[in-house]
């Protein structure tokens, strides 16, 4: 009993103090102490937001700090070709990535060709399967099945890439070898198939999101005009959701360029300048992964690998940015 009266007195005191310090927050008077505490908490969270941002900037800074050195040490032309002087003093122009030979060759062309030769087929395959799966999920499957199937796709996406690389290396390549007898057992196409396992779920689930967010009025209007289901899908829904679908394809392409383990294990790792899908290739990511462990820090080779990192970072960053801009535009139009 005594205690409660005391606390009531305390509250009264605090109240009078409150009215003295006429500080208001959300229309209520609050003591200075509480305000300071609130501010400290806000700054704590803000600091964490800044930490997140700082790391993003740091990635940029450290990548460029090390990679830009390559332009001093190796030179921009050396990243394109290497002029080898023959015994008869004629010059042979070589487009080779061969940083450990006595005459170091740093041409990035075979690596870029290798990257594109795996990423482009992978994106094409994934677009076909991914969009079809997205359309099926959003427009054709019944809603109860979708509740179950959508998480399945997420599960599909969660398979570690090293597992896919392993399967491609051990099973995929052998089956493909027996069936088609490619020029190299491990080749760009095998890697592209492995990559599509990663990209199909991305495209499928983003396509589903984009198509599902299209207002139902559009579907109803189309049916009202006498269109069949497929006509509605192909002439109304897909055109309306086109930006979302294209954003997902761009993201998928970015992922294909940046994926490492699958191409490292299944693409064969021989730097070829070729358009033959069934030859071994070496991608930019696989080159970093394979060579960074053994390179001596501060050597030309070391900086060259960071330079490849810059190229990868820049390409994927801009692809993501484009996809994000497209999605934001859709949101503004209230379709997504």
């Amino acid at each position: 009993m005594v205690d409660t009266t005391k606390s009531v007195d305390k509250i009264k005191n605090e109240d009078s103090e409150l009215s003295k310090s006429e500080s208001s927050l959300y229309g209520k008077k609050i003591s200075i102490n509480v305000r300071i505490k609130e501010k400290i908490i806000e700054y704590f969270f803000a600091a964490n937001g800044i930490v997140a941002l700082v790391f993003i900037i740091l990635i940029f800074v450290f990548l460029f700090r090390e990679g830009i050195q390559a332009l001093n040490n190796v030179g921009i032309l050396d990243f394109i070709y290497f002029d080898q002087i023959q015994i008869d003093k004629s010059v042979q122009r070589l487009y080779e990535w061969y940083p450990t030979s006595s005459e170091e060759r740093y041409s990035l062309l075979p690596l870029i060709v290798g990257t594109l030769l795996t990423a482009i087929p992978a994106t094409l395959i994934s677009t076909f399967f991914g969009v079809a799966a997205g359309v099926y999920l959003s427009e054709i499957s019944n809603p109860k099945a979708r509740e179950f199937l959508k998480p399945m796709i997420e599960l599909f996406a969660s398979i570690p890439t090293v597992v896919l690389g392993f399967l491609m290396l051990v099973v995929g390549a052998s089956v493909f070898d027996d069936l088609f007898h490619p020029s190299n057992r491990l080749n760009a196409f095998i890697a592209a198939l492995g990559l599509s396992f990663v990209i199909i779920p991305i495209i499928a689930s983003m396509t589903e999101d984009a198509l599902r967010s299209i207002p139902n009025d559009l579907r109803m209007a189309s049916y009202g005009l006498g269109a069949t289901k497929w006509q509605t899908i192909s002439r109304v829904i897909i055109p309306a959701g086109f930006s979302g679908v294209s954003a997902s394809i761009i993201l998928g392409f970015g992922r294909a360029i940046g994926e490492t383990m699958i191409v490292l294990m299944a693409a064969g790792n021989a730097s070829n300048i070729t358009t033959d899908l069934f030859l071994s290739v070496r991608t930019m990511t696989a080159t970093i992964a394979a060579e960074m462990g053994e390179v001596s820090q501060g050597s030309d080779h070391y900086y060259a690998l960071f330079f490849i990192g810059i190229i990868l970072f820049t390409i994927t960053f801009f692809l993501n940015l484009i996809a994000e801009i497209i999605i934001n535009k859709m949101r503004k139009k209230n379709i997504f």
């Binding site: 790391f55 450290f62 570690p160 392993f166 069949t228 294990m265 994000e324």
Partner: protein
């Protein structure tokens, strides 16, 4: 007229059937892949396999140290990334106004999720090992202790890698908290922090948990960034050190040592093993364990999110 309409319908039916076929083809391929791993791997899985260390040049024995290393790295990764990520998400959703600055943070976080993981590896090498580690060694005069690949820097790199995942999924959960609840809390005279602590965070808890689980699963499966950040081919000893205070000694993860990692172990066995055919059962066994871990984590995350959405729907 009638014929052409019928024809159109037929093509429509065909395409709809085709789409269905493609979808179930994908499902079939997925089942085939999983079936193969389970079929080949299940025979070798045993308690011994999970606990034992590799023996006889990796052709026998288990994957105990690799599992331990994976656990150690992901534990440190979660400790480093989740507090920062969740706090950053709270700031972005509850405090920050929609300014140019916050929009830059959001864009950067979104884009960070798409940066290739191998680039994070380069960053870890350049920043954590060569910059922080080397300078730490100079200041502490520890010789070459921190300025080389080790468990701590691998975990730190992975935590930067999963930071966007944690932020984005927490952010989603926080934004989904109904505005009316927050206003009601303010209306009762609660301060902002009280509202966040008592109203926002409890409701967003499943979402935060989902983000954490997804981060762990990503960390467990990621291989490329740790290739040159301290993952080792084979280590006879676990990265453990006894932390002694007086007479009491507690075994602790030693963050300055190299480590074995499950995902890296699969890569090494598949590509650099001295006898790939002999180690094939071990390769499938390790793969099955890794798949089981990531699936378990992801299924948990999916169920959590599903329950959470249902709960929100009821409100």
């Amino acid at each position: 007229m009638d014929i052409s309409k019928k024809h159109k319908d037929l093509t429509g039916q065909f395409f709809i059937g085709f789409t269905k076929f493609i979808f179930f083809l994908l499902g079939f391929v997925l089942l085939l892949v999983l079936g193969k791993i389970i079929y080949e791997g299940i025979g070798i899985i045993s308690l011994e396999f999970i606990l034992d260390e590799p023996k006889n040049n990796m052709t026998e024995g288990g994957i105990g140290p690799a599992i331990f290393g994976t656990l150690a790295v992901t534990t440190i990764m979660v400790l480093l990334s989740v507090p920062v990520g969740v706090s950053a998400a709270i700031y972005l959703s509850q405090y920050a106004k929609d300014t140019f600055f916050t929009r830059i943070i959001r864009t950067a976080v979104n884009n960070l999720a798409g940066v290739p993981s191998i680039v994070f590896g380069l960053f870890g090498l350049g920043f954590f090992i060569l910059f922080i580690g080397r300078n730490l060694d100079e200041v502490l005069e520890t010789g070459l202790l921190w300025g080389q690949p080790c468990l701590l820097w691998a975990a730190a790199t992975l935590s930067v890698l999963v930071l966007p995942i944690v932020i984005v999924s927490t952010l989603e959960a926080l934004i989904a908290v109904p505005k009316s609840h927050i206003d009601a809390s303010f209306g009762l005279g609660a301060t902002k922090w009280q509202t966040i602590k008592k109203v926002v965070i409890p409701q967003a808890k499943p979402g935060i948990l989902t983000g954490t689980i997804l981060a762990i699963s990503r960390g467990v499966g990621e291989t490329a960034p740790i290739l040159f950040l301290g993952a080792a081919f084979f280590l006879p000893n676990l990265p453990i050190v006894d932390l002694c205070i007086g007479d009491y000694c507690i075994p602790m993860i030693n963050p300055s040592e190299q480590f074995m990692y499950l995902a890296y172990h699969i890569f090494i066995l598949a590509t650099q093993s001295s006898n790939p055919t002999l180690t094939m059962p071990i390769q499938y066994g390790s793969t099955l364990v890794l798949i089981a871990i990531t699936f378990l984590l992801n299924i948990t995350a999916i169920i959590l999110r599903y329950k959470y959405r249902k709960q929100l729907g009821k409100i």
